[in-house]
């Protein structure tokens, strides 16, 4: 395998990157304004008011269309490297999102998030381990599914794989199941949120807990409210999501211990210590996010624009505008990774396990958010 460096690969990424950027420019400058003003069924803006389609969902849909319709299920070689930059853009956007918070707000909001996220992660892992064993699934498959469904989708599935000796097919099934479920929730959540009259705070807490994949949490939050500001759906959902991402090393360790504890002695043991797993699997971009929160708390970018306080500074305003573009580019790329053929791979028992646990978590998270709505802390 020719593993060349990032900067050597970068020129090859330019065509795909250009397609992503042009797509988002067309969506934001022409398609979205046209949809806002178009008269359908005698109502101006029907497409936006009823379907809640905004530049985020349109971007994902365009990415999906490129891959599955325009290019017949596979990204052309010339474009594929550009689409590989999508996760870099999403992570960059999440780091910049740190400018929406101060440490004070994180402590207030985060303590509730830690409590709920922790509870949901532990309960989901237990549920998958128990239910997967009942369904007679392979232990490696159960281990991968446990973290994929409890923590953070694709990243958790991939991070767990080496620890539980998972094969590529196990990872593929787990990813296909959670992505299929995630795509469904990504599109229906804004409708449910609006139908139930959820506030940004309630909606953000719900999807930050109930949706499995980080990119899909982001998309569902921005689809509900495209506004990027303190207290908006995306600011709440992402802090809850960050809490979940931080728990990856601990969840990987717990599931690895479960896997090896039930393994026959003859198979040999190669358990990794918690320290090793923490060093290997800790998502470093979270440090960037916390650094951004620190700089914002110190006033490095001027006023943040919190409710009741002074208006946001020019730097913060521009930062938020750029963030929406960076997320937009990243989510067109994410759409380009949704392959309908691969989603069809998820079938049988793993799909059953994924759907049962995924739906339970999604509905339970909504119920819990309703129950604790008076205790949720706004920022």
């Amino acid at each position: 395998m020719n593993d060349t460096g990032f900067f050597q690969k970068l020129p090859r990424a330019l065509p795909g990157l250009a397609l992503i950027i042009i797509t988002m420019i067309v969506i934001r400058n022409w398609l979205e304004p046209w949809m806002t003003n178009a008269v359908v069924f005698g109502t101006k803006g029907w497409l936006v008011k009823v379907t809640h389609l905004n530049y985020i969902l349109l971007g994902i849909i365009m990415g999906m269309l490129y891959r599955n319709v325009v290019f017949g299920g596979k990204m052309p070689e010339v474009l594929s490297d550009g689409f590989k930059l999508s996760r870099l853009m999403i992570k960059t956007g999440i780091i910049l999102l740190g400018s929406l918070y101060t440490f004070n707000a994180i402590v207030q909001l985060g303590s509730m998030a830690i409590f709920l996220i922790g509870g949901f992660v532990i309960l989901t892992i237990i549920m998958v381990l128990w239910f997967g064993t009942m369904l007679g699934l392979d232990r490696s498959m159960i281990g991968v599914m446990a973290n994929a469904l409890s923590v953070c989708g694709v990243t958790a599935a991939v991070a767990t794989a080496p620890g539980v000796e998972a094969k590529a097919t196990h990872v593929a099934y787990a990813i296909a199941t959670i992505l299929g479920f995630g795509i469904l929730t990504m599109f229906i959540s804004p409708f449910i949120g609006h139908a139930l009259g959820l506030s940004d705070l309630q909606y953000g807490a719900w999807i930050g807990t109930g949706i499995l994949n980080s990119g899909q949490v982001l998309a569902a939050a921005l689809a509900f409210d495209p506004n990027v500001a303190p207290g908006s759906a995306v600011s709440v959902a992402e802090i809850w999501n960050i809490m979940r991402v931080i728990s990856i090393p601990f969840a990987v360790f717990a599931v690895t211990v479960w896997y090896w504890a039930g393994k026959k002695d003859s198979d040999g043991g190669k358990q990794k210590s918690l320290g090793t797993l923490l060093v290997e699997k800790f998502p470093v971009f979270v440090i960037g996010f916390l650094g951004m929160v620190f700089l914002t708390s110190m006033g490095a970018f001027g006023d943040v624009g919190l409710k009741g306080g002074p208006a946001a500074s020019e730097t913060i305003k521009m930062l938020r505008l750029w963030m929406t573009w960076i997320f937009g580019f990243g989510l067109v790329g994410l759409g380009g990774y949704i392959d309908f053929k691969e989603l069809r791979q998820a079938g049988g028992a793993p799909l059953k396990l994924g759907l049962i646990v995924g739906v339970t978590k999604y509905v339970l998270a909504l119920a819990v958010v309703f129950l604790i709505k008076d205790y949720l802390v706004a920022i």
């Binding site: 590989k84 996760r87 870099l88 960059t92 590529a168 470093v284 960037g288 020019e314």
Partner: protein, 79 residues
């Protein structure tokens, strides 16, 4: 088992990776560097131009040292 970094569905080959980077860790660091570049660019773009001295600039005030002089003089007058 071979280390799995950031492969998408399918085989863990270079072509099936979801990133241009070596692995997730390298991509995380790349995102931090890109964020720093974005912030630096925005700070430069939103930087307010340095305030001009209110006194008309004389030909002699074209050097940095003499440009400071009127401000110093103003301070002295205030005292």
């Amino acid at each position: 088992m071979a280390k799995t970094g950031s492969e998408t569905i399918g085989a863990p080959g270079d072509k099936s990776k979801m990133t241009l980077f070596k692995d997730d860790r390298a991509e995380d660091i790349g995102a931090i560097i890109m964020s720093v570049l974005v912030i630096a660019t925005i700070m430069v773009l939103t930087m307010k131009p340095a305030s001009q001295p209110s006194a008309p600039v004389t030909p002699a005030a074209t050097t940095a040292a003499s440009a400071v002089a009127p401000a110093v003089a103003a301070e002295t007058v205030k005292k």
